[in-house]
């Protein structure tokens, strides 16, 4: 599927100046993604892409749409500038109908481009709270971080954790979490006793660990993503930080779970019941296991949902022979509001954010264990 679409892309790219109008209507739908495919965050790119590809296979198998879909993967390296270049290409040359973004900084950077071109952008990975309402065409199929911390903090405080230290990456996501903790902790009767920002490329965490120890926290919140998370966990644990570690859904990576030091790491994820859920969720989980030989993660599910959402909206538009554009998709979203997706019915609010139930989980022996 993917190889086919990439080869076909060359054809369209060259033919585009000569074949406009009618052909554009008859041709395939173009879906594009701006994920990190190289660099320290490439692991996410693979996870996100797997979700999208599975949804594409299901849409094809179900013959949900009359026109075929062409999927184009662009590399953002999780960097805003690369993201902007990739998004510009998707919007301007490929005339994408629907795009996928990830990472807070990249999402904020590409949003004005999609907004200007009225192209829908789906985020299923980044959780910066300010991603809400970025553009009428920017929708989140993931609960943003403020929803996650509001689920996590009361649980931990209930476990007797009162003093929190924050180790956060120095970027919009980290800043947002710092702000969020500063506001939310006092409300639940706890306090933020220290916050330590780290650059995105930092590798040495011994010194940070020493400073974390000094503020004598009950729990340490880690706000980072990608390869760095594992390094922070290892760095803290190896340097005498024995307290409870906690975080948000970015910890839901296999490479984190397999780290012995991550034992007991408590964080939040969206609630998805793969085994007992509805048929759609079970099918997703089974086919994913078959294709990849492992359990799907929430990210796989989110981008599966993001892609499936396009199928559902376009299917709706095809029924009434309406052209599939950013505006028609947006109107349909706001008209229907609720969609059958993996993990249950997804409901969207006016800003384009999907609401989802959140659960508190913990890494235990490399397995995700549900706590609350």
């Amino acid at each position: 599927m993917l190889e086919f679409s990439r080869r076909a892309l060359l054809g369209t790219a060259l033919a585009a100046p000569f074949a406009r109008g009618a052909a554009a209507q008859e041709g395939p739908y173009i879906l594009g993604s701006v994920f990190p495919q190289s660099g320290p965050n490439a692991e996410y790119g693979g996870v996100f892409t797997a979700g999208v590809q599975l949804a594409l296979q299901h849409i094809e198998a179900d013959k949900l749409l009359k026109r075929p879909i062409r999927y184009i993967s662009e590399d953002s390296q999780a960097l805003p500038q690369q993201g902007v270049i990739a998004m510009t290409k998707l919007v301007n040359i490929d005339k994408a109908h629907w795009t996928f973004a990830a990472f807070t900084a990249v999402s904020k950077a590409v949003a004005p481009i999609g907004d200007r071109a009225k192209t829908v952008m789906i985020n299923g990975g980044a959780v910066g709270p300010d991603l809400s309402g970025l553009s009428p065409y920017f929708w989140n199929v993931i609960p943003l971080a403020h929803l996650e911390t509001r689920a996590l903090l009361p649980y931990l405080v209930g476990q007797g954790k009162k003093r929190f230290a924050l180790v956060y990456v120095d970027d919009p996501l980290g800043d947002a979490i710092l702000k969020e903790l500063g506001e939310q902790l006092p409300k639940v009767g706890a306090e933020l006793v220290g916050s330590f920002s780290i650059p995105r490329d930092a590798q040495q965490f011994g010194p940070v660990a020493a400073r974390v120890r000094q503020v004598r926290p009950d729990a340490v919140y880690i706000a980072s993503f990608g390869a760095q998370q594992s390094q922070i966990i290892k760095g803290l644990r190896n340097n005498g930080v024995s307290q409870q570690l906690c975080s948000y859904s970015a910890m839901n990576l296999a490479s984190v779970g397999s780290l012995p030091e991550a034992e007991g790491m408590t964080f939040t994820v969206q609630k998805v019941d793969y085994a007992g859920g509805d048929a759609l969720t079970r099918r997703f989980a089974e086919d994913f296991r078959r294709a990849h030989g492992k359990e799907p993660t929430v990210y796989n599910a989110n981008y599966y949902n993001g892609c499936r959402l396009f199928g559902l909206l376009a299917h709706e538009l095809e029924k009434t022979n309406t052209a599939v554009t950013g505006d028609s998709l947006k109107d349909t979203l706001h008209r229907l509001k609720k969609f059958p997706l993996v993990g249950g019915t997804g409901e969207f609010d006016a800003a384009g954010n999907m609401m989802a139930a959140i659960e508190v989980v913990q890494w235990k022996g490399g397995q995700l264990v549900k706590l609350a």
């Binding site: 100046p17 902007v84 950077a109 800043d175």
Partner: protein, 291 residues
């Protein structure tokens, strides 16, 4: 398609400005700076702030960007006056790293890693103008100025300093002033490129001004050929279209596209240096006889 090529052309023009101004420093004055992206960044932030807070007039943005980058180029001129060769490269590396930290941390001006978003489109007297013609204009003016200087007394002075600093000084040439001016000119040019970049992307953040970017610009100069007028432009075209060309290769798995691009780009740098060190347009005999 047209939009795509105009986007690529704008980037080529902007990086062309960076490459020709860096070449002015490297090729004429013998100042091998790997901190050009710092001044690109200063210009970008200055231009973006002007557009965001004062007026979207691109000429004002460029002028302010050039001014700020030109004045702060003193940070580069100072080590250039003290040391040469590897030492200066190291100094400029140090400057690059320190500036990068400042760009990330002075969030009130730069927005940190989150950057400055939603920079308005350039307007001249309430008419929206494209960045491409502006960038081409700036590139043309700079090329003309460099051409004039290269064949005039200033270029001669710089080349004299490059070849034999003490002899140039013994002929009454104030070396410090000449070097500082050359650095200021080149960095001001980089500042203009930065302002245009900010206006073109509508977004700037610190990732565009890293050491890798400085090395990319340096590679453009070296690949094209130092000390030639158009060599750096050829280098800019080649290195910028390489990733775009690669993205049309179908047999590369999507998750490896980025790596393959980087590998080809790194390999090209190395192989060129080994087999064609004077660059594509450079005089291959240059430097042979005195090595």
């Amino acid at each position: 398609m047209i939009a795509y090529f105009s986007n690529l052309a704008t980037l080529v023009a902007i990086f062309g400005i960076l490459a020709v101004t860096l070449n002015f420093m490297v090729g004429f004055a013998g100042i091998f700076s790997v901190a050009h992206a710092v001044f690109f960044g200063l210009g970008a932030y200055a231009g973006a702030q002007i557009a965001l807070t004062v007026t979207p007039n691109p000429f004002l943005a460029c002028a302010v960007a050039a001014g700020i980058a030109g004045v702060l180029s003193l940070c580069l001129a100072l080590p250039a006056l003290r040391v040469r060769g590897e030492y200066f490269v190291a100094a400029s590396l140090g400057l690059q790293m320190v500036a990068l930290t400042l760009f990330s941390e002075v969030k009130s001006l730069t927005g940190g890693i989150g950057g400055l978003t939603n920079i308005p489109r350039p307007q001249v007297f309430d008419v929206e103008v494209g960045v491409l013609p502006l960038a081409l204009l700036a590139l043309g003016v700079l090329l003309w100025a460099i051409h004039a200087m290269a064949n005039g007394s200033f270029g001669r002075t710089l080349k004299a300093i490059r070849d034999a600093e003490s002899a140039a000084e013994a002929l009454g040439k104030p070396v410090a002033v000449a070097k500082a001016l050359a650095v200021a000119f080149a960095c001001a040019g980089a500042g203009v490129a930065g302002a245009l970049f900010a206006l073109h992307m509508s977004f700037v953040n610190v990732e565009s001004f890293t050491l890798d970017q400085s090395v990319l610009v340096m590679a453009m100069v070296i690949v094209g050929g130092t000390g030639t007028l158009f060599g750096p432009l050829v280098g800019a075209v080649l290195l910028l279209s390489l990733p775009s060309a690669l993205s049309f290769l179908t047999f590369i798995p999507p998750t490896e596209v980025g790596s393959v691009q980087q590998i080809i780009y790194g390999l090209a740098m190395t192989l060129l240096m080994v087999f064609r060190p004077a660059g594509l347009l450079g005089d291959q005999n240059k430097g042979k006889s005195h090595a």
